[in-house]
């Protein structure tokens, strides 16, 4: 499903409480949320619960989604990340980015650069496949094992500086700084 379509679904949920749109989102993201949950160590029942609770979060927060600020999967990631922390760590994860959009000071978007979310997403997915092993390893530990830089360094018995540079290299390989330039 492309980003355009997914954004449209989230907006329908947010603006009109559209259950058909929500169901479509559920059928697409539910199994992906569950996959994420299991990859972070949840067993089947727990992962199932996490996926459901995250989708309920989607229903509740859809009216604050802004397709100009993030693509659909980015927003979904933030939702499921916070729900994982809520259910598994039993902690809140304060998130400015999921707050009501209109309450925040205006983002200074560069009018000369349009963010093509679809293209950026595809570039990212391709680039992920080409990460060198040691960069992939630290990214996996960060995203799926909720390990901070210092925890990764300790676990892999590496200097903190090495972990920092592997992550920065991975981010630049993923063209993070160049995503904005795709138009």
């Amino acid at each position: 499903m492309n980003n355009e379509h997914l954004c449209g679904l989230i907006e329908l949920v947010g603006a009109q409480r559209d259950r058909a749109a929500f169901s479509e989102l559920f059928l697409y993201f539910g199994p992906r949320f569950k996959g994420y949950a299991m990859r972070t160590g949840c067993r089947d029942a727990e992962a199932e619960e996490l996926a459901q609770e995250a989708m309920i979060s989607v229903w509740r927060r859809a009216d604050s989604f802004d397709r100009l600020k993030a693509n659909a999967t980015t927003w979904m990631f933030a939702i499921v990340r916070n729900k994982r922390i809520d259910l598994v760590r039993r902690e809140k994860y304060p998130s400015a980015e999921l707050e009501e959009v209109e309450q925040r000071p205006a983002d200074t978007a560069d009018p000369g650069v349009t963010y093509d979310a679809a293209k950026a997403g595809e570039v990212l997915r391709q680039a992920l496949k080409t990460l060198p092993l040691e960069q992939e390893q630290v990214m996996q530990k960060a995203f799926f094992e909720e390990k901070s830089h210092s925890v990764i360094a300790e676990e892999l018995q590496l200097p903190l500086g090495t972990v920092k540079s592997r992550i920065r290299l991975a981010l630049s390989r993923l063209r993070i700084s160049e995503l904005e330039a795709y138009a």
Partner: protein, 218 residues
């Protein structure tokens, strides 16, 4: 204008969900006022989004969608708390993400005066191993020279302070660790209010050590 930001690795750890709640709070407070860092965090979250799509999807139970649809009209448990929090008149500079952590108005927190130099109110975060507080000082106030046993995270909420030659103002962020020493001073503003999170005790220099060290154990 915000000139001091969290280091990239801290923003990264925040975006991947790897920070403890108290530390994440300091980042969220900064993000609420910093579009630049919000953009950076968004870019890292987009990696999370791409990972979400490259992971093999796992089949959801048949009845799941129906049981979720049945629950959509439930009011969230947090709604009552949010309503209560929203009804408390609060200083405008208190970030929205911070409001649920304050039991009442900022003014009514259990402020403790520290020797006429500054005031502090502890902010309990359930389950947190970190020491979380709001610190405020008037013009002429300062926090005496001290070193750190571990990481310190500071978000300036209002006013400004000067530390090691740098001026930090509302929206600015300062990360310090065990190799850092400083004596933040409020000399260019009427008042400065900050959110402070410590992961280890502070060690005050000279005669202040005796009186202040005990207050900054964990």
């Amino acid at each position: 204008m915000i000139r001091h930001h969290p280091p990239l690795d801290l923003l990264f750890d925040y975006a991947t969900g790897s920070l403890p709640e108290a530390v994440a709070l300091t980042i969220a407070v900064h993000l609420e006022n910093c579009p630049e860092c919000r953009k950076t965090v968004g870019q890292i979250e987009s990696v999370g989004g791409a990972l979400l799509e490259t992971l093999p999807p796992v089949e959801i139970a048949d009845h799941s969608l129906d049981s979720v649809l049945a629950r959509l009209d439930e009011p969230p448990a947090a709604q009552r708390q949010t309503a209560r929090v929203a009804s408390v008149p609060q200083e405008p500079f208190v970030p929205r993400v911070m409001r649920p952590y304050l039991k009442g108005a900022l003014e009514n927190l259990p402020w403790r005066r520290i020797g006429g130099l500054f005031e502090e109110a502890l902010l309990p975060i359930s389950g947190a191993a970190q020491r979380v507080s709001i610190v405020r000082a008037r013009n002429g106030g300062f926090v005496p020279m001290h070193g750190h046993g571990g990481p310190e995270y500071l978000a300036v909420l209002s006013g400004g302070l000067r530390s090691n030659g740098e001026t930090l103002e509302r929206g600015d962020y300062a990360y310090s660790n065990a190799s850092d020493f400083h004596e933040p001073v409020v000399d260019a503003y009427d008042e400065c209010v900050c959110l402070l999170v410590l992961e280890a005790p502070l060690k005050f220099s000279g005669s202040y050590g005796e009186t202040l060290d005990p207050l900054y154990q964990m």
